[in-house]
Amino acid sequence: MSVTASPPVPPESSQAPSRRLRLGPSLRAAEIDMRLLGMLGALGLIWVGFHFWSGGTFLTPRNLWNLSVQTATVAIMATGMVLIIVSRNIDLSVGSVLGAVGMAMAMLQREILPDWIGYNHWAMWIIALAAGLLLGALIGGLHGFIIAYVGVPSFIVTLGGYLVWRGVAWWQASGQTIAPMDTTFQLLGGGSRGNIGGLWSWVVGGVACLAIVFMAVNGRRQRTKFGLRLRPLGMDVGLAALSCGVVLGAVGYLNLYYLPERVAAERGGGDIPFGLANPVLILIGVTLVMTFIATRLRFGRYVFAIGGNPEAAELGGIKTRWVIMKTFILMGILVAIAAAVQTARLNAAVSGLGQSAELYVIAAAVIGGTSFAGGVGTVSGAVLGALVMQSLQSGMVLVGVEAPIQDVAAGVVLVFAVALDTIFKRRPK
């Protein structure tokens, strides 16, 4: 027996879908994220603007290659910050934790492990990295435990962590700079050896293209199978071609950045491309894994549900405290990865390592569309947000803007970006 056969249907529920069909078929058919377009537009504006302002040095392969490496640490952490903010929390401690974990990994390599296995042991980098990841997870877990189970607001816990871990970073080496790192460990940070060269970069680009094509084809097949409306074929083909073009174009352009002559000479001389730097590969891996966690796993679904309605999540039988604690453990691990990249890149650990990184990480997540009201945000958006923030910063460094003024600009852009978004959202759709 059908329950709803007899009573008349309320007008609103029956007409809503058809009205939507009539209103904007072309816009809906495109299904292109307006926010993504806006961010890409802003990025283009920043890049072109700085290119002219710097007299043609911003859009060079060398600068963009550096930009890709510099973006990595902030972007890696931003992917975790998305989940933290989505679940209505905040982590102000990531910069300090980066400092403390980075310093710990440096101390292991310079002061502690050499007593046992000597310098430049083959396992040195593995032990240091593993210890760093474990330490990051423990620190994150401690934060998460106090937040979720003791019930202290995350703002307070991580504000305390901000102070504590900065102090710990200093205390481990009494403020000294610890350098250099293990030679294999250094590869995590990029540099003239820490990259995969031109050929493998093309391979990575090619694989990415195949993935794009596969996703486009698979998406159409699924939509057909489930009777959903298809985008025009031309648009799907165009989008896939455009994405592939961007990927391959980026690889090709970055491959125009060649090793310095002296280094190249050791490898037979000539123009040898750097290729994608290891930090960028790590970032790509982190982005894929975090996107998978956020969208395909139960844990990710729970994080979003908690952000949307904590009470509903609790009533649904979700162990919300444990989920929250896990987001902080994950954040700690990502900070440790970023710390490894950062110390490897600098080939040193200083007590100020990662200072004010938390601000750039939070800004990246927010510019990338993560809402402080909770429940909304994407990993890929945060990575793009990190690229916007980093482009802004390195652009200003390039044209010689003084550091305090850089902060002014970064702050203004952050507020401006979120204000635009708020106004845009408030308008009736």
Partner: protein, 265 residues
């Protein structure tokens, strides 16, 4: 068809005995006992702050009782979390609906009980198909399942909350003000649904302010006032005025004076 609270009906589906809940020094629920039989609707009525919702939360696992016992099918049950309640096939439709606004209808329906693929990933297709099936029964006009719940109408959101309870084969259904946010047509729809579920042998606690609705649907009516149970009466033995008297002045039928009854109007 009417059912009465005869002892001959055997083991009650739910038997709550002497439940106490206190917030600080306030006795929100003060020694209340209730029972519910298969295929029966028990209306739980009372003014604001009478303790209806708090009482029922001890059954749905949203709030732990300070003391008292709950028997499900005659066996002592321990219900401390919503998960526990679901193990006993107790489903609750909360007044607030308890939906996560930012995710879609199937995700809400399966929240906490997701269908997983072989690789432990979310099987969104399976959840969507199951949602479409249930929704075809509850609200066939509701097609756009994959938009976030916040953009749905009141009736659609209500159907998501009900679908969640129905899909998981509840034997005991708690409905807290299920029609408070609905228009007349949608209310009629929910009433039809309640009658249908009843015939399937599901026991329903119906919490409501709407005494007319309760009279239409309930077999028995339990009245609470200031955390205490005033009494449980067979719907066919009382008038609306008598129930009103129980709600407002806490007097059982036959014990209120004419003057007191007069004041109610």
């Amino acid at each position: 068809m009417t059912m009465t609270a005869e002892a001959s009906r055997g083991v009650p589906l739910v038997d709550m005995r002497d439940i106490h809940v206190a917030f600080g020094g306030v006795h929100a629920v003060d020694g209340v006992s209730l029972d519910l039989y298969p295929g029966e609707v028990v209306g739980l009525v009372g003014g604001n702050g009478a303790g209806k919702t708090t009482l029922i939360k001890t059954l749905s696992g949203a709030h732990k009782a300070d003391s008292g016992e709950i028997y499900i099918n005659g066996e002592k049950a321990t219900i401390e979390t919503p998960r526990d309640a679901k193990k006993y096939a107790i489903e609750t439709i909360y007044q607030t609906l308890a939906l996560a606004e930012n995710i879609d209808a199937p995700s809400n329906m399966f929240l906490g009980r997701e269908v997983l693929s072989r690789w432990k990933t979310l099987d969104d297709r399976a959840m969507e198909q199951a949602a479409r099936q249930v929704m075809g029964r509850l609200n066939p006009q509701f097609q756009n399942l994959l938009t976030p719940v916040k953009s749905l109408s009141g009736g659609q959101r209500q159907s998501v909350a009900i679908a969640r309870a129905v899909h998981f084969n509840a034997r005991i259904l708690i409905m807290d003000e299920p029609t408070a946010a609905l228009g007349p047509a949608e209310t009629a729809q929910v009433h039809d649904l309640i009658n249908q579920l009843k015939t399937e042998g599901i026991g329903i606690f119906l919490i409501s302010h709407d005494i007319h609705g309760v009279f239409d649907l309930a077999d028995r009516i339990s009245v609470m006032l200031q955390g205490k149970l005033v009494g449980t009466v067979d719907k066919d033995d009382v008038t609306k005025d008598e129930v009103l008297a129980m709600i407002i002045i806490g007097k059982l039928p036959g014990t209120a004076t004419r003057a007191e009854l007069q004041e109610l109007h």
